[in-house]
Amino acid sequence: MDRQLLIYATLCYLAAIIRTVVSLRARVFRRSRVVFLSIALGFVLQTAFLSLRGHALGSCPITNLFEVLVFLAWSIALIYMLIGTAYRLSLMGAFTAPLVFLLQITALVLPIDTSRAFRVSPNPWLEFHASISIIAYGAFALACVAGAMYLVQERQLKTHQLRSIFYHLPPLPNLFSAMTRLLWFGFILYSAGLISGFFVSEPLPWTKIALAIAIWVLYGAILQSRYLRWVAPRRVATLCMIAFAIALSLLWSIEFVGHRA
């Protein structure tokens, strides 16, 4: 039953992607409620899935890589719903849906759902550490999405090739502002997650700690270099995308290491 909910949620995100692609192919990109409603419905179904899983497990449903990916996809959708409307970046949905879809389809296709026979003993610090870290990942993912939007808009302005999407994308300063705020938001959450990790009573593998600190240093370096104006906005956008790709691959490693340990 719970996997079915996830499949429906994934189909909702697919619908949002199809709507966007159809608009782009017709060269008449239009801001659409369909995209927002598809994502909203997908988010509701994801929430229902996580809720069922959580009840079944008796803990926050992030006990294996499958659940971590779904929780991350849910976090991205959550932050999009909050940020996208607050900063009038509703077009972010067109860019967010493919990322969420990719995460969920990976979770569904790969044989990584091993939770049925797996139970974790209640550990509030561990649950807080894991969930807050994944929500931070969601913010980093949205910063990556804002970075992609920035680069698309900047590329159009540089090459003078203005597609119909140009008129719907926000101005560069707005995108850059959203990107840096998301980076700070993610960084603060991630720092809280990292600190709370030291309060977890069970010993954590040193590789897991080292990789987590590496991600923290990576994002800290991006924010610091921007604060000191060492890098131009376009490079910050590129770094956001590279950093998230690295963070995502390290998340995989962390989980892999965690389970092997």
Binding site: Q153, H160, R229
Partner: protein, 356 residues
């Protein structure tokens, strides 16, 4: 009841002819004397049109005469410039006009505001009755529908509006931006005006001939700066509009790179209108610099116009639907089955009253 439209526009008459038929204070009185129960006069720089309802057909000569400002007699050539449409075709015409499809620049939206003001004026004076009310409200609805369902109003179609749109995407808010005009030509002046209309208030003009710079600066409420300091100005400004008669590039990457170091990541938008170009194309490759020459700007404007034209079919289809619907309403009016509840507040009497 005969609903008709009578007028001329930029396609049917030159400006000299349009100037003679702009209507005057007595036009509505004259039209009522001719037998029009309801009258609306739409006058813009590109068109003069009467929308009216009458029991009988009124001669075009008389209608033209009611618009003539000098009271003189109209020649056959004058009358040939007028068009006349009745009932459903009259509705179609107003729907097209309000949607901007009949405008000189397809899809322009100013005409909708002008049509609304014309209607408000007719309503306030009591010359618009239920039929014109229904027609106008439908026309405004059609225009909104066309605007939201098609891309016919999308994209800038002049060099000035392209510059404004690009500046909006590069800087977000245009207020507080600093603009330097290098060389005071006509296009740069128009571009400057377009930017000023969107809130840019710090305007600087630099020209080899200081008097010309002073003149334009005074016109635009800006300041003239010595030509020798224009590169120094680039440390402060956000937008550079260049249109000098220089034969070689004035601005090249080696000249600009030291300037950019002092700009702390602030983007620089360069509009090079000069032919030959004032700014080396390689400047566009520098981080944070967005260079557009006249060809790029015109190409964007042309693409927008082409996109608007492509949308015409979809827009006309929307209008067709509304015309069919309005035609049914006209039939109901003729057969006396029209509901009388659609009178706007302030419009006195029902159709029957206005017909009597």
């Amino acid at each position: 009841m005969n609903l008709f439209c009578f007028g001329l526009n930029h396609r049917t008459a030159p400006i000299e002819a349009r100037e003679r038929f702009v209507g005057h204070a007595q036009t509505q009185v004259l039209l009522r004397d001719l037998g029009c129960h309801e009258v609306l006069l739409l006058t813009t720089c590109n068109r003069v049109e009467i929308y009216a309802a009458a029991d009988r057909s009124i001669l075009s000569e008389h209608l033209a005469q009611s618009l003539r400002i000098d009271g003189g007699s109209s020649s056959k050539e004058d009358l040939d410039a007028f068009y006349r449409m009745e009932n459903a075709e009259c509705a179609r015409h107003l729907f097209r006009v309000a949607s901007g499809l009949d405008s000189m620049v397809v899809g322009e939206t100013e005409i909708l505001g002008q049509a609304k003001r014309a209607y408000e004026s007719a309503r306030a004076s009591g010359s618009a009755g239920p039929l014109l009310h229904r027609l106008c409200q439908r026309a405004f609805r059609v225009a909104k529908h066309v605007r939201s369902k098609t891309q016919v109003t999308r994209g800038p179609v002049s060099v000035g509006s392209v510059a404004v749109d690009l500046a909006g995407k590069i800087f977000g808010d245009l207020r507080g931006l600093k603009v330097l005009v290098l060389g005071a030509g006509e296009t740069s002046e128009k571009t400057l005006r377009a930017l000023a209309s969107r809130g840019v208030s710090d305007l600087r003009v630099s020209n080899r001939t200081p008097a010309r710079a002073e003149e334009l600066a005074n016109q635009m409420e800006g300041i003239a700066v010595p030509f020798a300091t224009w590169l120094e100005q680039c440390r402060e400004i956000d937008i550079l509009i260049s249109s000098t008669a220089a034969e070689a590039h004035l601005l090249t990457p080696p000249l600009l790179v030291p300037v950019l170091r002092d700009r702390a990541d602030r983007p620089l938008f360069i509009i090079d209108i000069a032919v030959p170009r004032d700014v080396a194309p390689e400047v566009n490759e520098l981080d944070g610099v967005y260079l557009y020459d006249i060809d790029s700007l015109q190409e964007i404007a042309s693409e927008s116009l082409e996109l608007r034209r492509q949308q015409l079919v979809a827009a006309e289809a929307i209008i067709d639907e509304h015309v069919v619907d309005f035609q049914k309403y006209l039939v109901r009016v003729d057969t006396g089955t029209r509901p009388t509840s659609d009178c706007p507040t302030g419009v006195s009497g029902t159709l029957r009253t206005s017909e009597s």
